[in-house]
């Protein structure tokens, strides 16, 4: 069964200039590196990147920065990547920092049909600037709004042809959240499995969220 498994060329054709790209991964781990290569090969530029971080200089997600494909970044931390830091300081990349837990909730809302989430994280700091404060039962919260992307890049341990996904260890990280929050969700899976082979209860991301899986 072929299902949602697509050739490299079909994946490369998904990328266009100016898109918002959401990418799974944390500190160079659990990153969909084969899809990042497809994105680089597409030549798409002026991208907005939503990811927890930008990896290291010219590694994993950092390759998109190194090859100057990214104009804007939404992330929780970019300190590991000296190239990202230098481009931000030079004014060549615009950055929005979001506390990591709030960023995850914004992805979850974007993928769950929700209008936002209320959190105490960032209250009394510059993170509340320009955001709505909402009082519930006498307590103040910051309203964090949903984030969505044109294309999501997901790394999974296993994928079946219907797009059902399972992950491994801390490589799961942001991937199940990213998988839900885009118009087109692309998957880079270590192992391509048969239908029913992953196991109903072992599946973390149901295939309904997935559009295409990169063929091996």
């Amino acid at each position: 069964m072929t299902g949602k498994i697509r050739s490299r060329d079909e994946i490369v054709a998904q990328f266009k200039d100016g898109q918002t790209i959401m990418c799974g991964g944390f500190a160079n781990r659990g990153v969909p590196n084969n899809l990042i290569q497809c994105l680089l090969d597409s030549g798409a530029k002026h991208l907005t990147l939503i990811s927890n971080d930008t990896g290291d200089a010219d590694l994993t997600i950092g390759r998109l920065v190194h090859h100057r494909r990214v104009d804007r970044i939404v992330a929780s931390h970019v300190g590991m990547n000296t190239e990202t830091v230098a481009l931000i300081e030079a004014g060549e990349i615009a950055v929005t920092f979001v506390p990591q837990g709030s960023l995850m909730e914004r992805l979850r809302c974007g993928g769950s049909g929700l209008g936002g989430v209320l959190t105490k994280t960032g209250l009394g700091t510059i993170m509340q600037e320009g955001k709505q404060i909402i009082r519930v039962d006498g307590e103040d919260y910051i309203l964090e709004t949903p984030l969505r992307a044109d294309v999501a890049l997901v790394r999974a341990r296993m994928a079946d042809p219907l797009g059902n996904l399972a992950y491994r260890g801390t490589s799961r990280n942001t991937n199940p959240l990213v998988a839900k929050a885009a118009d087109v969700t692309l998957v880079d899976a270590d192992l391509l499995m048969e239908v029913d082979e992953i196991g109903i209860d072992r599946i973390v991301t149901p295939g309904v969220f997935v559009d295409m899986i990169l063929a091996h």
Binding site: V85, Q100, S102, G124
Partner: protein
């Protein structure tokens, strides 16, 4: 014991068996060596049960900590996505979080993510100080150039307001309390006056001041 391990060992004395604790990068990551074996460690990318760093063939990409270092998961470990990870953080399930600091204020305000004009992001620090019932700062008492780090008010961008409980330094331990900063532990050979000179706010000395292992 060097200064970093001295601080880590004193921090670990706050943990008890059954606690789930989040450790920041750098000095806090030395704490497990001194902790009760019943303490479990949380990494914010999404796992409880972080074990020792792995080497050679035991290194697996799929078990990495907040610094991206590979570790061995312990028996009983559980993995989850990063939203679940911060649900654990915000809902108060952690016993404590241990972080470094650039500045701490008398009222427990913490600045540890940005210097003016130099911002690389806060990662999970703002969520951790908001959700963890106990926030422990592991840091040297003064900055490299000798500048004071414990101040009446922070001048750097804040990570959180009134969130710090304990400040563990190489010279002693200071608690943030409703009546002010209280010196609870001191290293032999250092006097409370020595520490008071190196901080901006007034320092109260605890009645039962303890000697901190050097």
């Amino acid at each position: 014991m060097d200064i970093r391990n001295r601080i880590a060992k004193r921090v670990a004395a706050y943990f008890k068996s059954g606690d789930v604790v989040n450790l920041g990068i750098g000095m806090p990551s030395l704490c497990p060596a001194y902790s009760d074996p019943g303490v479990m460690f949380h990494t914010e990318n999404g796992l409880i049960g972080v074990g020792p760093l792995s080497t050679g063939l035991r290194q697996v990409e799929s078990f990495t900590n907040a610094s991206g270092q590979q570790f061995l998961p312990l028996s009983g470990a559980s993995a989850f996505d990063s939203a679940e990870s911060f649900a654990i953080v915000r809902s108060g399930r952690l016993a404590a979080t241990v972080l470094g600091a650039l500045q701490v204020a008398e009222n427990g305000d913490l600045a540890n993510w940005a210097r003016p004009g130099k911002m690389v992001g806060m990662g999970g620090a703002m969520d951790l100080v908001t959700g963890a019932p106990k926030v422990i700062i592991a840091m040297e008492l003064c900055a490299r150039g000798g500048e004071k780090k414990i101040l009446k008010a922070c001048t750097f961008p804040l990570t959180g307001r009134a969130c710090v409980d304990h400040i563990v330094t190489e010279q002693g331990v200071i608690d943030v309390t409703a009546r002010g900063l209280v010196l609870t532990d001191i290293v032999d050979g250092v006097t409370p006056q020595d520490i008071a000179r190196q901080i901006e706010p007034e320092l109260i000395v605890a009645d039962d001041l303890r000697i901190m292992e050097a």
